[in-house]
Symmetry: C2
Subunit: 120 residues, 2 copies
């Protein structure tokens, strides 16, 4: 049977940035978390929307024609096909919900690409 | 284009209990919130998992062979097919993620059933 998950406690168990960890699954999606600091990479996901919820700190999501600044307790959905660049000034903790097959760097293959995220 | 959503602010805009409101959509699912107080109804969802994240307070989810008690910042996924009864002692605020077609009372039709949740 599923167990309940204390999101903040899970963030205590790793320290790497931009490395998604899987906390659970809901229908066809994974619930993931990642720590963010500095700049990620411009990318998009062809067929998947991505849900970002800020657990701690502030996350910027730059898109080609706008930028959103997300604070703790706020969420944003990046629609499929929309190029985006997540970045932060200070460390931020983020919960992510996206379909299981999604690669963190979308259409890009970089040193930040994580092929198989770890369950924690 | 999508807008960012401040979850706590959205809770200020309504007062009814057990009445899901839609805040956004991600792939085939809606992001919903509801205020909970007292007891809901025993029900299950035949083909859909439900993701519950506690924004404020405490939510109990009673199942036939166990019960989880969720506090602020914790989530739990009720797997498809599993009968459950959400209830609270005090008021709680909950974020829910589930496929678009899902009825809040699942296989039951009661006075708590909301056929068409409102976008807020």
């Amino acid at each position: 049977m599923n167990k309940k998950v204390d999101i903040k406690k899970k963030f205590d168990s790793f320290s790497e940035y931009w490395t998604p960890k899987i906390l659970g699954e809901v229908n066809d999606s994974y619930v993931k978390i990642f720590k963010a600091k500095g700049e990620f990479v411009w990318h998009h996901h062809e067929n998947e929307d991505e849900f970002f919820l800020i657990i701690k700190g502030q996350l910027h999501i730059k898109m080609r024609d706008e930028e959103v600044v997300l604070n703790e307790g706020e969420f944003f959905v990046v629609p499929r096909g929309v190029e985006h660049l997540p970045y932060t000034i200070e460390e931020a903790h983020v919960l992510l919900l996206e379909p299981k097959g999604v690669l963190n760097t979308g259409n890009k293959n970089t040193d930040k690409t994580v092929e198989t995220p770890e369950w924690i």
